[in-house]
């Protein structure tokens, strides 16, 4: 009753004098009781319930409701006193350890070998390190954004069918334009911001070269292969004279460094509103050297990510003149890289916080 209502009941006004009287009596008695829970067994309370049957039919419900309220009030009283009884005394929070504690029983850190870094974050560090060495700076993506950065700034016109490809989570709350806020479904939400933030690079004759990792969300049911929460890293490179061959070469270079072997790539034309041309990239399987294995479904190739030359409308919207500059972008899933690397069978392990899982990754 008390838990269901969730509100604190105290000094309630009871309409029925009988109940009001009993309330006063019982509360006073409770104050003097050693075990406050006994008050719930009081005969007076039981007597009130007994009375319901004697009342005119149309009053029974209201009377009954009031007794229940009284009972709830008493229950809360009991619960509060129990919490109070269990409450521990204040401590000196400025001290490094408690009073009268022998030196060998004082706080200590856990053994290092018990510690672990999350495999996704380990991998992200590896990825960022490679891109850092390749001259890319890094910035983190957002976890809550607006319609403009998710769609409009990326050349998805309002109502465009390509918006359907993303099952986005939306909030009840709206942005200034009356659109719901959006849990980003891709790290590309940062493209417009990065183009603007690094405009001075171009002015200085330097490229915009950023890699943007972050959490992204899709409103999907969970199973071993589907998560509603996963990680991507976006890449953005803009300069004079950047071409599609550069894009493919850049990612081939990254993959070869990441897998520490010469990786071949295969591009497949694709459609994204924010790149033109767009590709899906497959890499030669680094686990079997294209011979065919379970990871690549015996095909020798692994489809990995989407990429393309940044659409002139996206550049323009980011304040970059597409007549002068061109660029490329990609968005690559991190979870998949890690699952393939360790043979992780269920994507749900990542956000499970299970030590059985985590402690395998020292």
């Amino acid at each position: 009753m008390a838990a269901a209502s969730g509100t604190i009941l105290s000094n309630m006004n009871y309409q029925y004098p009988k109940i009001a009287e009993a309330a006063e009596l019982l509360k006073a008695r409770a104050a003097s009781l050693e075990n406050k829970a006994d008050i719930l067994k009081a005969v007076e309370l039981r007597a009130l319930y007994g009375e319901i049957a004697t009342l005119p039919v149309d009053e029974r419900a209201n009377f009954g409701k009031e007794i229940n309220t009284l009972k709830a009030e008493l229950e809360q009283l009991v619960a509060a006193s129990q919490n109070e009884a269990e409450a521990l005394p204040p401590i000196d929070i400025t001290a490094p350890f408690d009073t009268n504690v022998a030196a060998d029983k004082r706080p200590k850190l856990l053994p290092s070998e018990a510690g672990s870094i999350h495999p996704l974050m380990q991998e992200l560090e590896t990825v960022l390190d490679i891109f850092y060495r390749m001259g890319f700076t890094a910035i983190e993506s957002r976890e809550l954004d607006d319609e403009y950065h998710m769609f409009s700034s990326l050349n998805f016109p309002d109502g465009h069918p390509a918006r359907d490809e993303f099952d986005t989570f939306m909030t009840v709350q709206q942005d200034h334009n009356g659109h719901p806020l959006i849990a980003p479904a891709h790290t590309s939400i940062m493209q417009n911001r990065m183009l603007r933030a690094h405009a001075d690079n171009l002015a200085k004759g330097e490229p915009i070269a950023v890699v943007i990792p972050g959490r992204v969300f899709r409103n999907e049911d969970l199973d071993a292969r589907h998560e509603h929460t996963f990680y991507q890293f976006e890449g953005l490179y803009v300069d004079k004279g950047v071409n599609a061959g550069n894009l493919l070469a850049t990612f081939k270079t990254f993959l070869s460094e990441y897998y520490q072997q010469d990786i071949e790539i295969k591009s497949q034309p694709f459609y994204f509103p924010f790149t033109e041309p767009s590709f899906e990239l497959a890499l030669s399987c680094p686990f079997c050297q294209k011979k065919g294995c379970n990871i690549c479904s015996q095909s020798g190739w692994i489809e990995l990510l989407g990429m393309g030359m940044i659409h002139p409308n996206v550049l323009r919207e980011g304040g970059v003149d597409p007549e002068v500059y061109t660029g490329f972008a990609w968005g690559c899933g991190l979870d998949r890289l890690v699952m393939m690397k360790y043979g992780i069978e269920d994507v749900r392990h990542f956000e499970s916080a299970r030590l059985d899982f985590l402690r395998q990754f020292v």
């Binding site: 919490n83 521990l88 005394p89 401590i91 000196d92 929070i93 400025t94 001290a95 490094p96 350890f97 408690d98 009073t99 004082r106 706080p107 200590k108 850190l109 290092s112 018990a114 510690g115 672990s116 996704l120 974050m121 560090e125 001259g135 890094a138 976890e143 809550l144 607006d146 069918p161 989570f169 939306m170 909030t171 009840v172 709350q173 942005d175 200034h176 806020l181 070269a209 959490r215 969300f217 409103n219 509603h228 929460t229 071409n243 599609a244 061959g245 070469a249 850049t250 591009s267 497949q268 034309p269 694709f270 459609y271 033109e276 041309p277 489809e303 030359m309 002139p312 956000e351 030590l355």
Partner: protein
């Protein structure tokens, strides 16, 4: 998008495309499609199940004496099937149970040893020569269902086409080894033309360097027959030209609605459509061929709705409270912005989505209206979504079909219906055309695009010549004018997507093959990439905490509403999801600690006695938005330590708070000057106005938690959790933790170094008895400050705490023992000098706190 390779080869030959798109075999073709068109979802073997089916003629047919429905037939197979018993005329005996079997009809014969096509891929049913009630039947005569070409099983298939007995069914209907390739639709989101066989065939030719030739009937301004029977008058009134750029229609009479010709049934079956009747099938087939959906209305029903002597079509928005029954039997109230097709009195269809039931063509239909129209892609898409209606027509309309092909497709269907369903044209073609005159004049949706060879090569990294580019584009029927280095590219009338120079670049790159591009890394300056401090501090935090034995976890950014209740947070502060599939994802979290606390119990249950979980994450609160109204994002680091009673019994004494404090001091020591770290008693009221911080404090027990400051800067909270929190989340008794702002870590202080004294250090302990309520820190600070003032010149002191004790018999006081080490750069210090130092400090301590040196 599904398409049959044999069908494509067939009409390429018919229309005059150079070369064979599948000349190198299906595998190569699929690989080529993958590299230059889009992902192939699957390749289905459609043809092999027909390899043994033979077209035969029934020569004689008599009743089976021992059966009331069986017939004994002899069939002429031209003698082509080997190993089968034949009579003196070389005919073959087959017993057949179909009521329609009779002498003279042409049938599909499944000889002994063949597999019934319907059973292929399931449990193959192989036919034999066997006796049925005493008469040998060599295989069987097949029905439409047994041929896997539909549901009809009332009788055997009667082939209407004039085919020589003994012809292989697969040869005549072009099914030998036919494969159906299914290409992922996603790739064609911006390519409405590729939702038609013509569009995809053109691409298949283009990516292989072949010149595609569209059929002659596929043209901008086709000719329509003049009225050839009594006129059936139709008017079209378009009230919303902004959403309906073009609406073309024509009427026809004398229609014989009936079964479709077999070739058409086969073509539809190949791509997964069912044959309905010839009129519906023709309109469906030419939709599949061109991407342009068509609709046939029963003319007389349309006319009757208005009760006059002509049919009227009005294109308009829905009227208030209008309802319509659709072809699928559903009755809906169309959304206000839907495009309605109506008569003068009532709606007869939802444009682009589905026709209405009241004007459906059926077996009695004699007169029809054929419609070929163009609707706003966004509008029809929203309408379809609003009513949960998804049709083949909508899939095509919502990609934005070219309005320049409406007449071509209409004319073609009219022609087919005239030839094969008896139709006669009974009106002039109506063309409600609201396109800009310029579009009609140039016969292309967008103006020709001026581009240079350099522009293309610079963006691709290629080195193509003007002539090579011209050939690539002309192969897919673009018009290219070359003038030295300059090109003018005009897209054909069906292409909606070639609008900018980048579109031309994509087209050229794809047709040539992106796999041919030279892989060259970008050239750039060697300015070093800027380091991101945030990632740097996160890395350090991870390393420090994992070294301290803690485990990094990642938990969801979203939480269930009842988690807020369990930890005492105010959910009205949190951003709420409106469309989550699961109640576990109702709100954006307000702090990280509750998510971590939820993960404690499952790990205890899994058998872990002692552990520390930490997470680095982001939180949001409604109270915190930026100038653009966007929620601010706050980085946080939280840790929860938990230990079971067994571990505690042999390892720890005292409040769990101090364990969390140990972790937080250890972590912060790399980032801030520890002397500036302050632990302040938690009083929630002090943070009124800092909504998100108050929410962060909610799970913490005020009497046993501290707010942390780095000097004057608020950086977080450390402490134990409220009893109610511990209860509702089943936390063990020994549990404590902290949550800090990530911004506290944005400067790395690094190590500082003080030169080492040459002389040995002297060490001594000092114990003060102080009132029990004096916070330890105040005493420590006093000792340290006074030490600084009183220490001899050029000395290097260090101070640590040895113990804090309380005697059983004196609960009003506690005793704190410090350990002082001090060394000089100039000489060896003596015990006397240290004692003198202690005396000075003790005096101040006594004065200030009533501390007694014991």
């Amino acid at each position: 998008m599904k398409l049959s390779v044999n069908s494509i080869q067939g009409f390429n030959k018919l229309y005059g495309t150079t070369g064979d798109v599948a000349a190198d075999g299906i595998d190569k073709l699929v690989e080529k499609i993958g590299a230059q068109l889009g992902a192939v979802e699957e390749v289905v073997d459609f043809g092999s199940k027909y390899k043994d089916v033979v077209v035969a003629k029934v020569v004689s047919c008599r009743k089976h004496e021992n059966s009331d429905h069986l017939s004994i037939c002899t069939i002429d197979d031209g003698g082509v099937v080997a190993d089968v018993a034949r009579d003196q005329d070389s005919y073959v005996q087959v017993v057949c149970g179909a009521p329609n079997v009779r002498e003279g009809i042409t049938v599909a014969w499944l000889p002994p040893g063949s597999t019934v096509p319907e059973s292929a891929g399931k449990e193959p049913f192989v036919l034999l020569a066997r006796a049925i009630r005493g008469e040998i039947s060599n295989g069987m005569l097949a029905s439409i269902r047994e041929l896997a070409l539909g549901d009809d099983h009332a009788g055997i298939l009667e082939i209407a086409d004039d085919i020589k007995p003994g012809t292989l069914f697969a040869d005549y209907y072009n099914l030998q080894d036919d494969k159906v390739i299914d290409i992922e639709n996603k790739m064609f989101t911006h390519r409405p033309d590729c939702f038609g066989f013509l569009g995809v065939s053109r691409e298949l030719a283009g990516i292989q360097g072949m010149a595609f030739k569209s059929p002659d009937w596929y043209q901008l301004s086709p000719e329509f027959p003049t009225i050839e029977a009594d006129e059936l008058s139709l008017t079209v009134h378009n009230e919303i030209p902004e959403l309906v750029p073009r609406f073309t229609a024509i009427t026809m009479s004398n229609i014989t609605v009936g079964p479709s010709p077999l070739w058409l049934v086969i073509e539809l079956t190949k791509v997964g459509l069912r044959s309905i009747n010839n009129i519906v099938d023709y309109t469906n087939f030419f939709m599949l061929e061109t991407g342009q959906p068509l609709h046939a209305y029963d003319y007389d029903k349309v006319k009757a709705l208005d009760g006059g002597d002509a049919a009227h079509i009005v294109v308009r928005y829905p009227r208030d409270n209008e309802r319509i029954e659709l072809l699928n039997g559903k009755v809906i109230n169309p959304r206000q912005e839907a495009i309605m097709i109506a008569t003068q009195t009532q709606p007869i269809g939802i444009a682009g989505v589905m026709g209405g039931a009241s004007t459906e063509t059926d077996e009695h239909t004699k007169n029809i209206i054929l419609e070929s129209a163009n609707f706003d892609m966004y509008s029809v898409r929203r309408t379809g979504m609003a009513h949960g209606l998804f049709t083949d027509a909508l899939t095509r309309f919502n990609k934005g079909q070219s309005p320049l092909q409406n007449l071509a497709v209409l004319a073609k269907v009219v022609d087919e219906i005239r030839q094969f369903a008896g139709g006669k044209v009974t009106s002039a073609v109506i063309d409600n055309n609201n396109l800009p005159a310029a579009v009609m004049e140039r016969a292309s949706l967008h103006p020709a695009i001026p581009i240079t060879v350099d522009f293309i090569n610079e963006r691709l990294g290629s080195s193509l010549s003007a002539d090579q580019i011209k050939v690539l584009l002309e192969n897919v029927e673009c018009t290219v004018a070359v003038d030295g280095d300059k090109l003018d590219v005009a897209a054909p009338f069906w292409r909606t997507d070639i609008e900018t120079r980048e579109d031309v670049v994509e087209e050229v790159g794809r047709l040539d093959g992106f796999d041919k591009l030279p892989l060259v890394l970008p050239k750039r300056t060697i300015t070093p990439a800027k380091k991101d401090n945030l990632f740097e501090s996160k890395r350090k935090i991870r390393q420090a905490l994992s070294k301290a034995g803690a485990n990094e976890v990642l938990t969801y950014s979203f939480v269930h509403g009842n988690l807020f209740e369990k930890v005492g947070q105010d959910k009205s502060q949190a951003f709420e999801l409106s469309n989550a599939l699961s109640p576990d994802l109702q709100y954006y979290r307000l702090s990280l600690t509750p998510s971590l606390l939820e993960k404690v119990h499952p790990n205890v249950k899994a058998g872990y006695d002692e552990f520390a979980l930490f997470e680095i994450g982001t939180v949001h609160g409604k109270a915190e938005t930026d100038e653009q109204g966007l929620p601010k994002e706050f980085g946080r680091i939280a840790l929860v330590w938990a230990a079971g009673p067994k571990v505690v019994a042999h390892k720890y004494e005292g409040a769990p708070f101090y364990e969390a404090r140990k972790f937080v001091v250890d972590l912060l020591s790399d980032h801030i000057t520890l002397q500036k770290l302050r632990f302040v008693p938690l009083v929630v009221a002090d943070y009124a106005g800092h909504e998100l911080f108050q929410q962060m404090l909610a799970p913490y027990e005020p009497d046993r938690s501290a707010v942390l400051y780095d000097g004057e800067r608020l950086i977080g909270v450390v402490g134990e959790y409220k009893r109610s929190v511990a209860k509702s989340l089943k936390l063990p008794d020994y549990c404590a933790g902290f949550e800090l702002f990530l911004s506290a870590f944005n400067s790395s202080k690094g190590s500082s170094y003080v030169a080492l004294p040459r002389f040995p250090k002297v060490s001594q302990d000092i114990t003060f008895k102080v009132p029990v309520n004096l916070p330890y820190q105040e005493l420590y600070n006093l000792v340290w400050d006074e030490l600084g003032k009183a220490q001899p010149e050029r000395t290097f002191p260090s101070l640590s705490t040895v113990g804090i004790y309380q005697r059983d018999d004196d609960t009003a006081h506690k005793q704190v023992t410090f350990h002082l080490s001090i060394a000089s750069y100039e000489k060896t210090l003596t015990g006397t000098e240290v004692s003198k130092l202690f005396k000075t400090i003790a005096l101040v301590a006594k004065d200030k706190f009533g501390a007694k040196w014991v």
